[in-house]
């Protein structure tokens, strides 16, 4: 027996004790320590201690959710410091932007970063939703997280739209004027709602203040809350869906690895690379800024922000109640309801469900690419409902009747997938949703690139210069 030697009591200095509390002695080297670290840390706790290795495949998730989170972080930081040089009142708001661009250290870079991150976020968030849809990752038990995701997409659009007005230039003023005029077509409460949002009958000083306050407080707060809920649900739902190959009979082998270092390292490297690219882009491409807002002179053409150009294109073809209220509401409702009638669990994790699903996806994209431009041209040059049905209410002649006529080919196409391809429910959902989404993308592209003065059609490469 050896006699226990009392270890000499060494008094830690105050600095040592502070260091011990705040930072770990060293990175843990064994798996147990690494898992402990995840569980003990607030931020890392968003991750489980271990993740399924195959869910980290780059070609399964494309890192789109993480990229959205990174962009949110960039937007939060740049947004907070931009406020230090901004006054939300005309005309000072515009003068402040000029000042940021010319007289503030890195001011233009920070503004560019904020502007491009915001626009990129819309694209990345939509791609993220497409990825989840394509792999069927919203199926039980992940329905709720799909709803949260779609709600966040709507909030991201709201954040972009309110931010669009803040520079108070001609571009901002008229895009918001055209965009908010759509609200007036909401039945019964439209005018009242429009006045409430604008703080008056038209875009003015009150609108700028309203939008600023929403842009910097309520909307980011709601997005942040939903983001945390979204991350937590990912963990509660068992992480990402596992990728599966076509015709895979055996359930995929589940190999789990520790979050540190496998997942964390990937995330950090990806974030660093993405931020570097973003920074280079923001250095090279300046955010647009036109002359100060002038309520007396509308530019020609006056376009809404680019993400609303698909909607504005619909407005050129339908009565506003149909084009701006009914169709978008139905679309959003449909997107919300997707995970509740597309519930086949066998194809979760397989891109585009099945062999047949893949063929139908290609077919849907191809048909939408062909049919949508044909319809735009027909409606522009041949169809003239209000002329043919002069005594009818324009809501009928220019709204519900064309809508019904548009719906017929879509229903026929859906029937056709069943008759000739023997498509089941999930493949029909895939076909119709892909067709409608592609058509919407085509309309957006037409609106952005092929509409010129007077909203007439021009070739994108032969566009007359807009007058301001």
């Amino acid at each position: 027996m050896t006699e226990e030697t009392p270890t000499p009591e060494k008094e830690d200095s105050m600095l040592d004790r502070m260091r011990e509390r705040l930072v770990p002695d060293a990175m843990p080297v064994d798996d147990r320590g690494r898992m402990r670290m995840v569980v003990d840390s607030l931020v890392l706790h968003l991750h489980p201690p271990k993740v399924i290795a195959s869910t980290m495949n780059w070609t399964h998730s494309w890192g789109l959710g993480g990229l959205s989170a990174l962009l949110m972080a960039v937007l939060g930081l740049t947004g907070v410091i931009l406020q230090n040089n901004y006054t939300p009142a005309p005309p000072q708001a515009y003068l402040d932007i000029l000042e940021i661009n010319s007289n503030v250290w890195f001011g233009e870079l920070v503004r560019n970063l904020h502007h491009w991150s915001a626009n990129l976020l819309i694209i990345v968030a939509v791609l993220h939703l497409i990825r989840v849809f394509a792999t069927g990752a919203y199926r039980p038990p992940r329905e709720l997280n799909w709803l949260i995701g779609v709600a966040m997409l709507l909030l991201i659009v709201a954040a972009n739209f309110t931010g669009y007005l803040l520079p108070w230039d001609q571009l901002a003023f008229w895009a918001i004027t055209v965009g908010t005029s759509i609200i007036n077509y909401v039945p019964l409460i439209g005018n009242w709602l429009g006045q409430l949002i604008l703080g008056g009958p038209e875009v003015g000083a009150n609108t700028l203040l309203n939008f600023y306050s929403m842009h910097i407080s309520l909307i980011p707060l709601m997005i942040f809350g939903l983001m945390m809920y979204h991350f937590w649900r990912v963990r509660k739902d068992g992480g990402l869906t596992q990728p599966k190959k076509l015709d895979e009979v055996e359930p995929p082998k589940v190999e789990r690895v520790t979050t540190i270092p496998h997942l964390l390292r990937r995330e950090l490297v990806f974030a660093l690379g993405a931020f570097a690219l973003l920074l280079v882009f923001a250095m090279l491409v300046p955010a647009p800024l036109e002359g100060i807002a002038n309520p007396d002179v509308s530019p020609n053409p006056a376009k809404a922000p680019w993400y609303f150009m698909g909607l504005q294109e619909l407005l050129l073809h339908f009565h506003p109640l149909v084009g701006a209220i009914i169709l978008p509401s139905l679309a959003i409702l449909g997107i919300f309801l997707l995970p509740f009638f597309d519930i086949n669990l066998n194809s979760v994790g397989i891109y585009f469900r099945s062999h047949r699903g893949r063929s139908l996806t290609v077919l849907a994209i191809g048909m939408a690419l062909i049919l949508t431009p044909i319809w735009v041209l027909l409606d522009e040059f041949v169809l003239n409902w209000s002329l043919w049905l002069p005594t009818w209410d324009t809501l009928l002649s220019n709204g519900l009747i064309p809508l019904a006529i548009i719906l017929i080919p879509i229903i026929l196409l859906d029937e056709w997938t069943v008759k000739f391809f023997h498509a089941d429910t999930e493949e029909r959902v895939l076909f119709v949703a892909t067709f409608l989404f592609t058509a919407f993308v085509v309309l957006t592209i037409v609106g952005i690139f092929f509409r010129g003065p007077g909203m007439a059609l021009y070739w994108a490469w032969n566009m007359p210069i807009a007058s301001h």
């Binding site: 908010t180 008056g200 009958p201 309520p295 053409p301 006056a302 506003p320 909203m455």
Partner: protein, 162 residues
């Protein structure tokens, strides 16, 4: 068959209903306060209040004059009648300039066209240009820009005579 007598609500049920009632009431009240607080505020002499456009005799017959701070046109018709036409397009809110050579309002955004009285000559505008209430006293034209008049057609009753 014996009828079961109606059971009076228990103390617990009563409290439940009372809680729900007063909770709902509190929610309604706070929502009302919130919405009322957000109502647009008006400043005297600015757009949204009554704006003096000047002497009626300063507007020649058959003329269209833009009053910039009031966002409207004073249209003086051939017979001396006056209309105050809001300069905002009824389609999507662009400012509609008066084209003196074509004698029309032509919107630069979606090519809606309106005649001198503001009636639609070319869609997509769904209705004529809106009017503001006009009163003429001692030869002075006062336009109430808080009183927006939407109309489906042009009618002579809309014209104000000095």
């Amino acid at each position: 068959m014996s009828e079961t007598p109606p059971i009076p609500p228990s103390r617990r049920d009563f409290l439940k209903i009372a809680w729900a009632f007063f909770g709902g009431l509190a929610l309604l009240e706070t929502t009302g306060i919130f919405i009322a607080y957000l109502q647009p505020r008006l400043t005297e002499g600015e757009f949204g209040s009554i704006i003096n456009a000047g002497l009626v005799d300063d507007f020649p017959l058959n003329s269209v004059t833009h009053i910039s701070n009031g966002r409207f046109y004073i249209v003086r018709l051939g017979d001396g009648g006056v209309l105050a036409v809001y300069h905002r397009c009824t389609h999507l809110g662009c400012t509609v300039p008066w084209d003196a050579t074509a004698q029309k309002f032509i919107c630069p955004c979606h090519n809606s066209q309106f005649d001198q009285q503001g009636a639609v000559e070319n869609p997509p505008a769904p209705r004529p240009l809106d009017l503001f209430g006009v009163s003429i006293k001692d030869g002075q034209i006062n336009v109430d820009t808080g009183n927006l008049i939407e109309r489906q057609t042009f009618e002579t009753a809309q014209v104000v005579y000095p």
